[in-house]
C-alpha cells in the first residue's frame, strides 16, 4: 500500500481519470506551470499538456461557466476555484445555471462538472481567504457537495465526483493537504452519499467534517481518558447526506455533537442537528451540540484567529457538556 498525502491523493485521482478518459480535463488559475497555489496539480502539465491542464485568466464566472458548457457537451471538466472564498464570484453560474439546467430542461441536459476548491484557517490568511462556505451549496437543489478529510477518502470521492453526472462542489481543506496515510494500491471509488465512522463509541456521536474530523479524533482520545466513549462519524458527502448512518449512530449513543470549522450560525451543523432531532428525538438524552467558528469575519492577528476558529478543545467541551447533562 503506497503512502500518499491528501494533496497527492487529489492529484492521483485527477491524473488517473485523465489518463483513462480524454473527456476529463482541468482548468483553473495557476494550475499549469505553477502546479496550483496549493501544489495539487504539480507535474500534470508535463504529463497532459496545456490543452488539458489549462491555466485561466482571473475570471471565475467564465471558468466555471465554461466548465458548465463543456460538461453539457459530454466532457467531464474539473474546474478549480483557488480559494472557496472566490466561489462567490462564480455563484451565479453555479447556482442559477449548473444546478438548474437539468431541472429547467425537463431532464434533457446533464452537467457532469466538478468544481474543486479549498479553504482553511490557521495561518492568518485574513477574512477573504479562509472561509468555509460549504453550507451555502448544500442549500441549492441540483448540486452535490463533498468534503473529504483523509487521503483515501479524497481520492476515492474525487473519482466518484468526476464520474457523477451532476455538478459537484468538491471541498478540500488546506491544512489537510500534507497529511499522509497508506492508501489502497488500486484507486477505490467511494460512493457519494456514504458516511464513514472513523471511531466507534457508545456515549456520544461526534459528526465532523474536514479538519474537524481530526480535531474530533483528538478530542475523542482525551474523552476516553475521562471515561467517555466517543463515536466519530464523517458524513464525507454533505449533499446527499447519509441520514441513515447518522441517525443509526445517534440512536446507539443517544447524544450528538456536530463540529465543523465553518461559522456555527447557519452552518452545516444546523442541518445535521435538525435531522437528528427530527429522526431520533426520542433517543436523545441531550440537545445536539454544535461546534463551529464564532460569528465574526476571520481576523488577521493570530491570537484573534485562534479565538474564532474551533479546535479539539471546543469539541471536547461540547462532548463534556452533552455527556454531563442528566438523561
Amino acid at each position: 500500500m503506497p503512502e500518499l498525502s491528501y494533496r497527492e491523493a487529489v492529484r492521483d485521482a485527477l491524473s488517473q481519470a485523465m489518463r483513462e478518459d480524454e473527456d476529463v480535463f482541468i482548468m483553473g488559475e495557476d494550475i499549469a506551470e505553477m502546479g496550483g497555489s496549493m501544489g495539487v496539480t504539480a507535474g500534470m502539465l508535463d504529463e497532459f499538456g496545456p490543452d488539458r491542464v489549462r491555466n485561466t485568466p482571473i475570471s471565475e464566472m467564465a471558468i466555471v461557466g465554461a466548465g458548465i458548457g463543456a460538461a453539457m457537451q459530454g466532457m467531464r471538466p474539473v474546474v478549480e476555484v483557488m480559494y472557496e472564498d472566490f466561489t462567490t464570484l462564480a455563484m451565479e453560474q453555479i447556482v442559477n445555471q449548473a444546478a438548474k439546467h437539468r431541472s429547467m430542461s425537463g431532464g434533457q441536459v446533464k452537467v457532469p462538472l466538478t468544481i474543486r476548491t479549498q479553504g482553511g484557517a490557521g495561518w492568518s490568511p485574513g477574512a477573504q481567504h479562509a472561509q468555509q462556505v460549504e453550507a451555502w451549496f448544500v442549500h441549492v437543489p441540483g448540486l452535490k457537495v463533498v468534503f473529504a478529510s483523509t487521503p483515501t477518502d479524497v481520492r476515492g470521492l474525487l473519482w466518484s465526483a468526476i464520474y457523477d453526472d451532476n455538478p459537484v462542489m468538491f471541498f478540500e481543506h488546506r491544512t489537510l493537504y500534507g497529511i499522509k496515510e497508506d492508501v489502497p494500491d488500486e484507486l477505490e471509488p467511494i460512493p457519494i452519499g456514504q458516511a464513514r465512522v472513523h471511531r466507534e463509541g457508545e456515549d456520544v456521536t461526534v459528526v465532523a467534517t474536514g479538519r474537524l474530523v481530526h480535531e474530533a479524533l483528538t478530542a475523542a482520545g482525551e474523552a476516553e481518558s475521562e471515561g467517555v466513549s466517543v463515536e466519530v462519524l464523517d458524513p464525507r458527502t454533505l449533499q446527499p447526506l447519509d441520514e441513515k448512518s447518522l441517525v443509526a449512530s445517534v440512536k446507539k449513543t443517544n447524544r450528538c455533537v456536530v463540529a465543523h470549522e465553518a461559522v456555527r450560525r447557519m452552518g452545516f451543523g444546523a442541518e445535521v442537528a435538525a435531522v437528528v432531532q427530527e429522526k431520533a428525538f426520542d433517543w436523545l438524552d441531550a440537545p445536539v451540540e454544535r461546534v463551529g467558528a464564532k460569528f465574526a469575519p476571520l481576523p488577521f492577528a493570530p491570537v484573534m484567529e485562534e479565538y474564532v476558529v474551533p479546535h479539539a478543545g471546543d469539541v471536547l467541551e461540547a462532548i463534556r457538556r452533552t455527556v454531563g447533562r442528566a438523561a
Partner: protein
C-alpha cells in the same frame, strides 16, 4: 406566384414529447471515442446550395418563418391577457429577422444559448410551435416538459441549450461548449444570443475575453434593440458602437442591419464560417428594434409614443422582406392563414396537453 411562402415548401412534423420525459443526451464518452459526443447529420449538399444562392424560394421561407414567430407571439400576448398563461413572458416582436437569419445559418450540430426573449430563436431553430406553446402552458408535452416555461425553453436535439432568465447567464457555457468542440476537433460552433443590456454584465466580458484568449469557435450575437427593459441605450451604455466592446478583447466583429433577414443570414454565415474555420470567435452586432414592451403587458410608460409608432411603421422586418420580394396581398394572406392555423393548432394542442403531476417537481433534480 407559388413559392416556398405558401405551403408545400414548409414541412413541420407534429411531434409530441409526452414519452420523452427524461430527455435524450448523448452519454459522456469514456476513453477515445469515434469523435463527437453527440450524433448529428450534415446534409452537406443542401447546405452548400443554400449558402451560395439565396433564392427567392429561400427568402420566402424566411418570410414565412418570421411570420410564424410574429403570429405565435401575438397569440401568446392574447392568451396571456386572457389569463391562460402562468408566469410572465417576453415576446420577440420586431426581432424576428435576427432569429430567423441566424438560426437558418446554423449547421446541424451547432448549439446556441438564448435569452429571456427566446420564443423566436426556439421556433426559428425548428422546435415545433406545439412544443413551445405547450411549454408556455406548463404541459408535459412542452419542450422542457413543463419544468422551464418561457424563459427556459430547451431543445437539445436541435442544439438549443436553453433560454436564460439571467441576463448574460448563457454566455460562459457557450465559451465552454466551443472549447469542447475545439478540444474534440469537431467542426461545430457554439452561439450565444444576448441584448445590448447584457454587454454591461460581467459574464459578457469574461466570456468574450476567455473565448478570444482560447480561440474557440464561438459566435456572440448581440441583438441591439436599444433598450434594457425600460432603460434606453444612452442611460446604460457609455459608448455607442458596441463592437468596441468586442474589439477590446481582440475579437473579430461584424455589424448588420438586424431588420434585414437576408443580411442577417449572410452575416451570420460569415461569422459561423470564421469560427468554424478556426479563426476564432466573432461578435455579431445586429441592430434591431423591439416593437413591443419588455414583457407582455408592459405599458411602456418610459417610451416615447411617437418614436414607437414610427419604429413600428418603418422597422418591421416582415414588411421589409415582403416589400423586397414583392409579395402580393393574396399570397401574403394565404401564408398568414396557414401560419395562423399552425398557431391556433398549437394553442389547441397545448390546452389539451397533460398537466404534470405535482410530485413530478422532484424529478430531474439530479441526473
Amino acid at each position: 406566384m407559388q413559392g416556398a411562402l405558401v405551403s408545400g415548401g414548409y414541412g413541420r412534423d407534429c411531434e409530441t414529447r409526452a414519452d420523452a420525459i427524461g430527455g435524450s443526451f448523448a452519454a459522456p464518452r469514456r476513453g477515445r471515442g469515434a469523435g463527437g459526443g453527440v450524433a448529428f447529420t450534415l446534409s452537406l449538399v443542401a447546405k452548400v446550395e443554400r449558402k451560395r444562392t439565396l433564392s427567392e424560394d429561400r427568402l420566402r421561407t424566411f418570410l414565412r418563418e418570421m411570420l410564424l414567430i410574429r403570429r405565435f407571439e401575438e397569440k401568446v400576448e392574447e392568451r396571456f391577457r386572457a389569463g391562460e398563461l402562468p408566469g410572465f413572458l417576453h415576446v420577440a416582436i420586431g426581432q424576428e429577422a435576427v432569429a430567423v437569419g441566424v438560426c437558418q445559418a446554423l449547421d446541424d450540430g451547432d448549439v446556441f444559448a438564448s435569452t429571456h426573449r427566446a420564443h423566436g430563436h426556439t421556433l426559428a431553430r425548428g422546435t415545433h410551435p406545439n412544443a413551445v406553446m405547450a411549454e408556455l402552458y406548463g404541459k408535459l408535452e412542452g419542450c422542457s416538459h413543463g419544468y422551464g416555461g418561457s424563459m427556459h425553453l430547451y431543445d437539445v436535439e436541435r442544439g438549443n441549450l436553453g433560454a436564460n432568465a439571467v441576463v448574460g447567464g448563457g454566455l460562459p457555457a457557450i465559451t465552454g461548449a466551443a472549447l469542447a468542440f475545439k478540444l474534440r476537433g469537431e467542426p461545430r460552433v457554439a452561439l450565444a444570443f444576448f441584448g445590448d443590456g447584457a454587454t454591461n454584465i460581467g459574464t459578457f466580458h469574461e466570456s468574450l475575453n476567455l473565448a478570444q484568449l482560447w480561440n474557440v469557435p464561438a459566435v456572440f450575437v448581440c441583438e441591439n434593440n436599444h433598450w434594457a427593459e425600460s432603460t434606453p441605450a444612452h442611460q446604460q451604455l457609455p459608448i455607442e458602437d458596441l463592437t468596441k466592446r468586442a474589439v477590446a478583447y481582440g475579437m473579430h466583429t461584424i455589424t448588420v442591419d438586424g431588420q434585414d433577414v437576408e443580411a442577417v443570414y449572410r452575416a451570420a454565415g460569415r461569422a459561423l464560417k470564421h469560427a468554424r474555420d478556426g479563426k476564432g470567435p466573432v461578435f455579431l452586432l445586429a441592430n434591431t428594434y423591439r416593437l413591443v414592451g419588455h414583457y407582455v403587458g408592459d405599458p411602456q410608460v418610459y417610451r416615447d409614443k411617437e418614436e414607437l409608432r414610427e419604429t413600428r411603421e418603418t422597422q418591421d422586418p416582415i414588411e421589409k422582406l415582403r416589400e423586397k420580394l414583392g409579395v402580393s396581398d393574396d399570397e401574403f394572406e394565404q401564408a398568414d392563414r396557414e401560419v395562423n392555423e399552425l398557431v391556433e393548432a398549437a394553442v389547441e394542442f397545448a390546452k389539451n396537453g397533460t398537466d404534470p403531476k405535482p410530485e413530478d417537481a422532484l424529478k430531474n433534480v439530479y441526473a
